[in-house]
Symmetry: D3
Subunit: 271 residues, 6 copies
Amino acid sequence: MITDTQIEQWLREDVGHHDVTNQVPGETTGRLVAKESGVVAGLEAATAVFEYLDVSVTDRLKDGTAVKPGGELLQVVGGAREVLRGERVAVNIAGHASGIATQTREAVERARTESEDVAIAATRKTTPGLRGVEKRAVVAGGGDTHRLDLSHMVMVKDNHVAELGLEDAVERFQERTSFATKVEVEVGAVTDAPRAAEAGADIVLLDNMTPEQTQAAVSELVDYEGVLAEASGGITLADVPAYAATGVDVISMGSLTHSAPALDLSFRTGE
Amino acid sequence: MITDTQIEQWLREDVGHHDVTNQVPGETTGRLVAKESGVVAGLEAATAVFEYLDVSVTDRLKDGTAVKPGGELLQVVGGAREVLRGERVAVNIAGHASGIATQTREAVERARTESEDVAIAATRKTTPGLRGVEKRAVVAGGGDTHRLDLSHMVMVKDNHVAELGLEDAVERFQERTSFATKVEVEVGAVTDAPRAAEAGADIVLLDNMTPEQTQAAVSELVDYEGVLAEASGGITLADVPAYAATGVDVISMGSLTHSAPALDLSFRTGE
Amino acid sequence: MITDTQIEQWLREDVGHHDVTNQVPGETTGRLVAKESGVVAGLEAATAVFEYLDVSVTDRLKDGTAVKPGGELLQVVGGAREVLRGERVAVNIAGHASGIATQTREAVERARTESEDVAIAATRKTTPGLRGVEKRAVVAGGGDTHRLDLSHMVMVKDNHVAELGLEDAVERFQERTSFATKVEVEVGAVTDAPRAAEAGADIVLLDNMTPEQTQAAVSELVDYEGVLAEASGGITLADVPAYAATGVDVISMGSLTHSAPALDLSFRTGE
Amino acid sequence: MITDTQIEQWLREDVGHHDVTNQVPGETTGRLVAKESGVVAGLEAATAVFEYLDVSVTDRLKDGTAVKPGGELLQVVGGAREVLRGERVAVNIAGHASGIATQTREAVERARTESEDVAIAATRKTTPGLRGVEKRAVVAGGGDTHRLDLSHMVMVKDNHVAELGLEDAVERFQERTSFATKVEVEVGAVTDAPRAAEAGADIVLLDNMTPEQTQAAVSELVDYEGVLAEASGGITLADVPAYAATGVDVISMGSLTHSAPALDLSFRTGE
Amino acid sequence: MITDTQIEQWLREDVGHHDVTNQVPGETTGRLVAKESGVVAGLEAATAVFEYLDVSVTDRLKDGTAVKPGGELLQVVGGAREVLRGERVAVNIAGHASGIATQTREAVERARTESEDVAIAATRKTTPGLRGVEKRAVVAGGGDTHRLDLSHMVMVKDNHVAELGLEDAVERFQERTSFATKVEVEVGAVTDAPRAAEAGADIVLLDNMTPEQTQAAVSELVDYEGVLAEASGGITLADVPAYAATGVDVISMGSLTHSAPALDLSFRTGE
Amino acid sequence: MITDTQIEQWLREDVGHHDVTNQVPGETTGRLVAKESGVVAGLEAATAVFEYLDVSVTDRLKDGTAVKPGGELLQVVGGAREVLRGERVAVNIAGHASGIATQTREAVERARTESEDVAIAATRKTTPGLRGVEKRAVVAGGGDTHRLDLSHMVMVKDNHVAELGLEDAVERFQERTSFATKVEVEVGAVTDAPRAAEAGADIVLLDNMTPEQTQAAVSELVDYEGVLAEASGGITLADVPAYAATGVDVISMGSLTHSAPALDLSFRTGE
């Protein structure tokens, strides 16, 4: 959910105390246009920017739509001063989110070459302040949000296991966990995967394993119906097919949110 | 300036209402460590995250320092629960800012192959909510902030020129501009560069010109002492040397802030 | 997570612009004391109130501890003016949260007369602004948070089912749901319970059923391993044993958070 | 006054980062309906919730109106997604405030059996974050707000009296107090009541006295024209008539705001 | 009450995104010094500015103290960068508040030439965002806060009287007013003053009357014990003695807060 | 830029928790009217106050317009309750800003008696929280904003010079300064003025010099084309012509923002 308070912060940091260039009378229209191909996202946020400024968004693509160069994402009409105030922020947020959606779509397509249903998921490695925008951009690209925040799903991490032992760590966290919440257990060795499933994991996170190790771990989990396997740890776009071929249910990639280049967009007024 | 309100927003979006995994008693130490080579930045923000949680930062690198894999950026000590709450947000902001600093350093080094003093500058194409963090990361990488916000420097853009004519547009904006503020004029044709300087531009922005056109424009500006020339418009890392060789004073690149991949960092506790 | 911004709001609404009674020099101590028996909660929030005012909390009970009349929950030392500024807000938040914990404990104890492991859970019927405080108070009382927010667990409600049919509604929501998120399906008829489980529900919400209907529905779900049954809808403390005896996994009660009377606490200074 | 910032906080804590159930196209209507008898309040706040989401409130009862089961409090029309986002928060705030108004009305009616004009007043024992909403709910129920905040009225408390003596304490506070502000003095013994009045109290607070003691103190105050007497200290609904019969001017009850059960409301869409 | 959020706003608007002049290592001391004679105020706010930046305030005058040129108001020690960041904001707020206190002291002294006890009061004509700071500065100068906000005291204004008639307007507002709140009635004619008192006014506001009219109105109020008379309406410093001589209880002056020149202060570091 | 968050703060501090006087049904109109001659400013902020309350501003003067007594600045129409809630805050902010604009206009007119083009500029001595409003009010009065914040222009101050020497101080700051930012150097002696210009200052600040010294310094700067001279330091309205006659480019005066009396405005409803 985009709040007015966040929109204010975005606009305030870009406008400053006294902008002499935007003292333009009258009304204008504007269009947000793609300069390269990609998948659009963040248009709810861009719309919120304009609406905060009382500029109307008259048309917009649905997040997740593929665009080609020249494609229009958004049309606005409003006071010229307000349109000019909003345009840079709108381009920045939509370009950022669309870059993430585009990168996600690319990863999903690479995964599809080897697997019909493996999910491509984001992580908590998001840009501070933009958790929701980025997670929804991943969904727009065909990906899975994964954990939204620390309270959304319980993760039993390697340091918990190191301290308590795998079974005890899982047990302790399950006692504290709501019935509404899934429990994921991180393992670093193939043989720990079935132990985690046996202990009650809903999802087993296979951390920093090679595709071969991943495949071995997936085999060990085959008897645990309903338990999902997730591959994670520095997986790049190039690695996706190899992991997709292992039979894992989920491939998670921090790079979707922390390293996707922006989609090149421009804003054109008065045409 | 990083405010507590912004740190709160970053933590709140990551923690949620009830995190059962971080209910850990006692104190711990932690270290922020580079997993790849790069230039560090954003450590003031990472420090602010920990200090908001009453975790002490006992040592930290200066922004702009080059690190190698394994290099420590930051050390903390504090309540285990608080350290665990802060670590993801701290990694995210420092990784993001260090990615920008690293990319900037790379651009600067490429520019230095052809020019001793051309500046590599960022633009207003920053991630919403992170204007200050990103501009300071560019400085950490050896770059120039360029305009901090719309009120910092006046930019006479192509649409202003189209409406009023170059000379009249510059005159109108100069009347409204404080003596404390520079005026930059955007031109798209080589012949407009000296007209802009003549009209009183402090900086002439050579927009979307080839290196050849840029060089021609720079020649035209040679007689206007104190007037700077800036090249801009989709310039990539690979293009930097060619533009640096033209004699421009500034090369500005949106990609420094909107498309730099994060620097890979990890946080290790209790070691 | 309690933020400084929220603490400010609480203090600001209680202090106003110019409080002449709290102009007291020097230091003082203070104690938060129970005037009746109950289970304490909200002490993290009460601590945050005092710490915002630079008053030290020198000792405090753990949330979830049972107290008797006269029992001390919290001790502070600090500037007399600051202690006096914080006391009313601290009493209000701790009394409110402890009331919820006490009510939850009572419900859990009643449930234990008929079932060893049925969970007593809260709902989203919380006091606006206090979602986290109240959910954690329920946990302090031995209850389960249930859904923390709309994004935490997917709920397929009666109106979704009415529109799309049960199986299609579940299918549509599952397509949109992350692997990290559970799906609960609300049913109003006993015969719909196994249909919901068959369609893939992680939890079946038996809404507004009598204990007899609930028991019948639970029987129908027995073959769906891992699928949980939840009873909900105006269940009072008096009703708890009857529902606990049906074999449901979860009994959820809005009254835990929206109608629990405050625990009677007082704050004593300078003793 | 309900601010947008507070509405945001309420919605944000309920929605989270990515709610897949509310992705519903089109418009809908909705109605807030009572499931039990009571007095409505908080409808200004509920309206503000919907209006923040650009949902129109087409009709609503006046705060203070009595409703019966099935009675409509509020009607809305707007985007289905926005209506669904707002409904839970609107029900929560209106149910909470209406519970307070209903409890207040009950106390007032009990008081009227013995006194035509004794006021039933709230205290500062309100739920943090909801001071204004709760005080206005008390007014909707026919009660008196009492002190809105520490700056609204000066209260000379038992600890001030213990430290300085009654007359000196009153004198010291009166020197500091604006002509615009009343001064209330708390006394614990019948004989202190006329001393407080003599010293200049506008109101004498008879703290933790029995009805008999209260009546005796009221008699002592009869000669001090314009000085009001207030009974306070753990007074329950059942105690109200006995205190009302003593002739006090005000009976204040913390339970009105900290322990009133919510009024049972539901929200129905699309009918 | 000064909140961190407000301090942040003050600092943020002064610092901007990247301040290159304040990159100073090491610690420093600093002193806030008067450059002219006056009465100090706003030092709590100035202290809060420095403490937000983790700069310690080691000594400070009490608000309301008279200073001569060269007098020290405040001493600090802390990081040089932080001291430099805070100094301008601290000077601005303390200079503003001290200007108000000084002007108030001047008005009080002029009043004392004619009356021993007439109060000099501020109004609601305060600078937006600084209500509390300014009201407390008036108190520091020896004045009276008057109404802190619309909810603090009820004011029956000329437009209410015009609509309903004086007696009915007072009656209607008294019905709605808490026993904790005073009622002031504005009158424009001498003969209306006793009518307002008779109707139950706690204070009668004599609006825009000459000193002669004011004196006449005060005479009419002599029989209403406990009812106060206030003179208001464009009263300047020069007018104060004439009004003070009329026997009114209160003289209120908007100029105290909206037109007092700042007290000239400077901040000296490292001495 | 005025944000909703700031408007909320202004309204909240004036309204409080429960205002019984503004419970007025129906619609009304209102007019903001000048009671004395002056130059208007702050009408964007006043408009934002009303619009936050959903009151329409149907007409308003342009900031910078001169008004005479009785002149209308602003007309509104809206709910009577909302108009009454907004009026005091709107008057306060517009009166404050118009006072600054009026004072600035007066200074400009006095300067014009001796110089056609000297600029009258504000400083950073603004009221905390109102930087933007006050700087724009100075512009409305015909003045120059000067530095908007610490990041807008670099100022090499006397303490920097004392520590490093003039030339080194300028060099050090220029290295850190963006090409987009001007550098001003403060000097206290006439002979330092040309040194500062030689070292690269864009502007030389002649601090606390007499008009004679100022004129001498201006003469020394005559050969440095493009370098501006600014006179500063306790310059009053009466001093303006003498400084204007020296040939300086800029006269800056803190009093414009910290000591201008408010312009006397009133708000009239329902006429």
